[in-house]
Symmetry: D2
Subunit: 364 residues, 4 copies
């Protein structure tokens, strides 16, 4: 069964290869009557766009999105919403040298093993270009979540060894987009940018961490036992190119705590029927797989980009030793452009589960 | 949409509450003709069973599994296989004191918020007892994977601050079940057991990490772009009670590496058409979301158990301040019993994706 | 992908073979808080039960249903509801003579072709016994629909050449269960019963038609373009053993009409915002795949039962000519027992689509 | 849950409205390595195209299909295949008069009831224009089935009272496309064409029946208990605009037969392991929901088109009595253009179930 669809009720199916005529997606299940803002969707795409700053790939794609269906008189109609993003800058010749070679830590070999043949131009469908379609769909999910008061914000919290240890609540997340690396701490951002430039100069790449926080999420979202909210968020994040790990709330650090340290004590509410709050939030806003009304926060690890501008030993399809070296224009670090992708995937999960929760409880 | 089904082609749907008559599951999509070994399935359940050692809950459940359908003449028939595990030890009175109170860091409040009412006895369906059904289904998946030469092995690699840093390849994983905590390093296992006993004596609990490795997996498993193998494994693991994080291959540690350090160089094969191997395996056996034929390995973080034998402040359904304290028989540390659950969930993912891969490539 | 699950949001998965320990199902997605009436569910099963009258099979099964999960304090909890129906009367020896022979117009040959081996006892999972699980699930759906004012009623409208031509609106459907054949016209019912007895005496079987009507269904149910309400009802009915055809509204007879004859004129409503009604109802309550608030009505054709008490030529697994003759206790006509099955499947479709419609339109 | 996706493994998701920029679809799950013939796909679309003859709508759409992804070097790659069909002839003004009025037996009222608002231009997404996307997807399925020797052929067997009673096996189905109405009996075709022209002259419309036959289908396709092959075919057909009924094999006529008449006797095969054949084929090639290797045949009833060129009483959104009359260019009879749609939907079902059957039986 093919894996190009995400979500159950608010559902996106993406298509397209890096160097084909276009990429895009269909969003099915978006409720009717939602005011549609194309400008906002384009804005989100611009945050992911190549060439947006000096520390990302200089590939030239305007990533201009078209809407083919599902919108009438400025509102969604409840029918599938198709987004189309034409590919513009297709220097396929940059990839001819790897038509036969398997680039190390790329998807060349595994796609060949899976499908028997592949579109090698720009990585074909394994290219991170596919995530542009996710960002378009996620932007629509954000428009929906906005009407419900739910907000998703991500930021770069680590590049290489440069880590931001300040808790999100003490950061001004408005600052995230004020610098090229999308770290809300301006001083650290400067250091990160310098590091990325240095790494790029060496023809190398570097990894990092994106942190994210969801505010305004009501209690009740998430569907145990398998579709727990953290499981769905985890899958969403781990489906992003180069993601290597996911943790929420106390995460891996929580394993050294005792229960008496880790438990989040409930606070008596001001009114008896007010939503409950907890004194701490090691749970990361999710208990038993269901949102509890506190902030949801999580972290995603990204490995260094596999394409480096250095000669590397490898093997070609005939099993012969070859050398490969990156050509063309690549990201020295995916982190700055990963921020809108993380937000998009989180928004898709939350929109989906908000709809799912409409089905669980009926007053009667 | 309810979340009680896992997998797409090899698919398990679980049912049942901690203190109802029984729990169980239906496995649908298991291929016909598979030799069925009930003894092996019971063996796996015994590894998860309460009361198996002095460092786990002393709740008395034999967890004897019955097979109601889908097997004839010792083989699977291709029809749904229903497993039933009667509940035996139901001291519901142990839970009367929390009928109205919300236990800290438990699912009491969130299930109430989600469904409007709940079965409070033993946590109802949020109880980890539900995972027994997963282990039964996972054991069947293991029987299937065995015929394909694929093996899943998990072990406890950390309890509290006691961490096993030896790479899995240097461990004798046969030793895992030789001690009560399921750590393959006998000396460290001793320390972990002592730590757990000490923690229990203090009426407290402790977290830890389960590591896992899959050997014998062919290249080609995993379905980009959303159902990448790591995304599916991550969801599977994060759906287990108390899991807080997932990482594979280099994981969170990989973010500080450069591309030139992290990339796994392909080695020229002995014969031209032999499966490729890589010099290192930072990829954790998965590249571009698809298995590459190398070992798959990953780690899962588990928080400390929320039920502690100490008085804690909390709130009841009326919003009043109350105090709660664990009664009954609980695990001071989930790690030893989490090992077969991690293996079961991984086996379900791999069986599902092995079947999925049958569809992708057709010689013609 | 296995086909043992029906529905998307209100979803049933059945399991079990005719001569195994039990059959049953899991219903997932039933909203929480629904008052649960086990007696009603048993009542519906009794309407489908073997041995209920002199014109059905005399196989002895009490079909006593047990509920294993998902209900607490007399209400559904929103978790999976598992139903178990133990098999009691398993004369497997009645089937030994056909272990190798393929009975004409049975599923013996096709199941063998599909799965490579099969459970031949009583037809295994191809037995109509499986429909008992559907009736249990459908009864739960009926309980849900009752709270919404939606009612499903089926009846036998034809046995062999004996056809009831009276439109449903002129029948007293309360009479349906007043006779053994479940035809609401008492005089025709008598004739049908006599025909069935005569057919049985000849060792033969006979087909017929079940008609059904849904009242109280609001406008808006059904999900174009593929999951149109008639498409879902049609699939539901055609999945019942022995069903050969489905038509709704004007059906096959409507093909000879002109548009000007067939169109259902809208009537001006008493109040401007009242639901609309149409002067005629050739549409069968569904327009463009969506319910329009008028009665939904449809018909299902059932072929004669394949098991006859006469010698028939056939072939065995070795390809040799053999003769087979029915043994044991079989229905001379499935129609009387098909009525609750048709109702159950229709109820499942409507419950599912009522939930689906909750997602489509959000006032904002 | 939205209903714009069909199939489980070979899966199509359509999008687009009659008067938007474009319609199209994504096909996901088509195996890699299939030779791709765009000319054949266009050929199938031409068979459905408006304006193809004097007895269909004269709306001008070239229905030129573009392929955006999933094909490389003339073969499918295993990734999603996106088809785009731009809309060309959008006389939206033809629909301004019905912006507020509900046309009788159209989907205007029900879509309004479902979604709260709608795109009224040309019926929006309820327009039969959407079926062009199905034909593109179905043509791809046909390319796949061709490699397996499976063939789907449909033809018009009835228009109004003019019915073709000759069994399909005695017809020359090559003749189907030799006349404008797509009836393989040239004499009857002439009469049908005359009838349609007469009906159109009267400003009216007429219904009919499409018959279809599948040859070369191996035994084993179809997934009991719910996804029986006839249930899936039935759903596929009943999802087509204007379809009112479906029957296969003996269908509704079979209900008057006895079991001894209806049963299909197996014939001893020439070799012991050859596929079995039956003396008759009342089963329509499907037994127990699974194909048995004989021809599959079925019939689909279509109602008369709702848009007529006569004044009809109706009601507008405000509940006021109004009169409506068709404007623009419409089909007097959908049957000729329904033939490729029936074939497309049948091909999608068979491709899907052929893939599904790959999972059921594994030699070991």
């Amino acid at each position: 069964m093919a894996g190009n669809t995400f979500g159950t009720l608010f559902r996106v199916s993406t298509f397209g290869e890096s160097h084909g005529p276009a990429i895009g997606c269909i969003v099915d299940g978006c409720p009717a009557g939602l005011p549609f803002e194309l400008a906002f969707i384009q804005h989100e795409l611009d945050r992911r766009r190549p060439g947006q700053s000096s520390i990302v790939t200089q590939r030239k794609e305007s990533d201009t999105v078209q809407v083919l269906s599902g919108v009438f008189d400025g509102k969604t109609t409840g029918t599938p919403i198709a987004f189309l993003i034409p590919n513009e800058d297709q220097r396929s010749r940059d990839y001819e040298h790897i038509a036969e070679a398997y680039r190390p830590s790329h998807a060349d070999y595994t796609w060949q093993a899976k499908f028997g043949h592949r579109d090698h131009r720009g990585g074909g469908r394994s290219s991170a270009r596919e995530t542009a379609a996710r960002v378009a769909a996620g932007a629509l999910a954000k428009l929906f979540l906005n009407t419900l008061g739910i907000r998703v914000q991500a930021y770069v919290s680590q590049v290489g060894h440069l880590a931001l240890h300040t808790p999100y609540a003490q950061l001004d997340l408005q600052q995230t987009d004020s610098n090229d690396v999308r770290c809300p701490d301006p001083l650290l951002a400067e250091k990160m940018i310098r590091l990325i430039k240095k790494i790029r100069k060496a023809g190398d790449t570097i990894g990092g961490v994106v942190s994210a926080v969801v505010t305004g999420c009501p209690a009740g979202l998430g569907d145990p036992v398998f579709d727990k909210l953290q499981a769905e968020l985890g899958k969403a994040m781990l489906s992003i190119n180069a993601a290597k790990g996911f943790e929420y709330g106390s995460g891996f650090a929580g394993v050294t705590m005792t229960g008496s340290q880790h438990n989040d004590i409930f606070l008596p509410p001001a009114q008896p029927d007010a939503p409950l709050q907890t004194a701490t939030n090691h749970s990361g806003g999710i208990q038993g797989g269901i949102s509890n009304g506190m902030d949801i926060y999580f972290r995603v690890a990204f490995k260094p980009v596999a394409t480096i501008m250095q000669e590397q030993d490898s093997v070609n399809a005939a099993g012969e030793a070859v050398q490969v070296k990156g050509k063309g224009r690549h990201d020295p670090c995916v982190l700055p452009r990963a921020v809108p992708i993380v937000e998009a995937m989180a928004a898709l999960v939350l929109a989906d589960h908000w709809l799912r929760q409409q089905l669980n409880y009926q007053e009667r």
